[in-house]
């Protein structure tokens, strides 16, 4: 039977020649990871289960990124619990303040993700790694505890939706606009329990950071995972990061897809998601009203990579953030932060009146570093605009690309670059 990329990787990981949608399988994990928010419940479950050791101390990874550096005493206690667990079980990789970055940006950057891998993450945005041709999906704390103990994960093989990309994005159109457009088209449950496979000649016109952003948000359409084929762009990115050999999977020609969605990248314009679901998207030309904002946040595992900072800085250079607007920039990792300093991007941000923070998930999830008051309006480059996501339940959140975020910060209302 012909197979999709997801089926091929899952078949390999459960030791079968092939799998079909609906098959109930148990896969071997190449890596499982979590963060400071989800670790404590997992640690508790793990210890209560009587497990004595983790399946492989090199393959269980913790990143303290959500409310780290600790935002208060309770979060400090949770982080301490994770730290102690990592010591007790002798985990090889524990990313704490000073080394840590936003998990789904950090792990690929450090070479922990390679094509063909099977990865689970105790964080819903673990699907980001699909950009590099890995099968990767988000899980909760107890599934993570099970993964730590056994190195395994049980699942039902998903059906695959094919998203065929053609054309070349115009200036100011990025991966964020592609995924917001897709979610707007299929809705927040449009890919519920399914895999999304990206394909088509348009992919070569998307840089690796665009692909990370796209794969990152497939969960906002309910997908199990989102996966890109491996090409020269992927291989260039992996060069020097991944030392081990890896296997590249391609879909069979007549693989079965639940449906095919075609997107011509050349026809897309910047998209904005309106409150309070990522599916409430509009192309920027259709926004007729002037939407005033109180805060802009350039942050998160969705959009705080180097190319995101570069595009925002190119718009902010020599300009100032509009009066009364708070503009917060959170580079996703220490390496990105350092490179941004080197390239003068941080100077641009500070000169424009932005606040720049050490890496953290904080503002995107309303944890700290930019929590919203009632009735405030925020434009975020993050992934979610749910009610109460970034603070008060009466705050309103819009989502966009870094380019739209930067242009809007200068104008004081949502605006095209």
């Amino acid at each position: 039977m012909p197979q999709t990329i997801t089926q091929k990787i899952l078949a390999k990981a459960c030791g079968k020649r092939q799998v079909k949608p609906g098959d109930q399988i148990e896969i071997k994990l190449d890596l499982t990871m979590t963060n400071d928010v989800n670790a404590p419940l997992a640690i508790e479950a793990f210890e209560k289960s009587g497990s004595k050791s983790v399946f492989d101390a090199d393959k269980v990874l913790f990143v303290m990124d959500h409310f780290s550096p600790a935002k208060d005493v309770d979060s400090a206690e949770q982080i301490k619990l994770s730290r102690n667990f990592a010591k007790k079980y002798d985990l090889t990789y524990f990313f704490d303040v000073g080394q840590m970055g936003i998990e789904h940006v950090l792990l690929p950057e450090k070479g922990f993700v390679k094509p063909g891998d099977c990865i689970t993450g105790g964080d819903s945005h673990a699907c980001t790694y699909g950009a590099l041709g890995a099968f990767s999906t988000g899980i909760g704390s107890t599934d993570f505890a099970y993964g730590m103990a056994t190195g395994k994960f049980k699942l039902k093989v998903p059906e695959t939706i094919k998203v065929e990309l053609t054309g070349k994005p115009k200036k100011w159109v990025s991966g964020k606009d592609v995924i917001l457009y897709l979610i707007g088209k299929i809705g927040v449950k449009g890919a519920l329990d399914q895999a999304i496979e990206f394909s088509g000649p348009g992919i070569r016109n998307l840089g690796i950071d665009d692909r990370f952003t796209i794969a990152n948000m497939v969960v906002e359409a309910g997908a199990v995972n989102g996966i890109f084929p491996v090409d020269e762009v992927t291989k260039d990115y992996l060069e020097g990061k991944v030392k081990e050999k890896y296997q590249v999977f391609e879909p069979d020609k007549d693989a079965h897809y639940r449906k095919t969605i075609k997107i011509n990248l050349g026809l897309l314009e910047p998209q904005v998601a309106f409150p309070s679901l990522p599916e409430n998207t509009k192309p920027i030309s259709k926004i007729k009203q002037r939407i005033r904002i109180d805060q802009v946040v350039l942050c998160s595992c969705t959009n705080a990579r180097l190319s995101d900072l570069r595009v925002a800085a190119s718009i902010l250079k020599g300009k100032e953030v509009a009066k009364g607007i708070r503009f917060i920039v959170v580079p996703a990792t220490q390496m990105i932060y350092k490179q941004a300093i080197k390239e003068g991007l941080i100077d641009v941000f500070i000169d424009a009146g932005c606040a720049v923070s050490t890496p953290t998930c904080g503002p995107c999830a309303g944890l700290y570093m930019g929590v919203l008051a009632s009735k405030e309006v925020c434009l975020s480059t993050g992934s979610r605009n749910f009610v109460g996501r970034m603070g008060h339940t009466q705050a309103k959140i819009y989502l966009s690309s870094p380019a739209v975020a930067a242009a809007s910060g200068v104008k004081g209302y949502i605006s095209r670059p």
Binding site: V37, G50, S141, K189, G366, F386, G388, T393
Partner: protein, 165 residues
Amino acid sequence: MILKGKVFKYPDNVDTDQIIPTPYLNIFVPSLLAPHAMEGIDETFAQKVQPGDIIMAGENFGCGSSREHAPLSIKANGVGCVVAKSFARIFFRNAINIDLPILECPEAVDDTKAGDELKVNLKTRTIENVRTKKTYKARSFPEYIQEIINAGGLMSYLKKEAKHG
């Protein structure tokens, strides 16, 4: 086991930020999470809910983040069961893993009003609306999910697995 409880009804796409807002993610003790369950969509839920009561919701319940604090905060209030038209994948897994009973039954959700009393048989997955006297059969689960339910959650399942090698 037959459950009997009053229905708290919610719409489609209730996300985990609504079920347990992020300011409470620095807590992981169930009894401390309980007073904040559903706070993002229904501030009075935790005060009103009685042990055995039932949450009913539309499609894609529990979408968004993977925080297990969401089903845990519901369970910690003694909620007997969550019935939805469909669940977001990670919430579904989390609920099964921590032994919070859940059922998928679109017809029952369509016909039920907030405040209705339901009788739910988790074993047969039948739901009876006491007001309308109508009964419904919820969808069955894949075998591996049913095995986790039967074990009483994923960690009990793991213990069993370890015992039997």
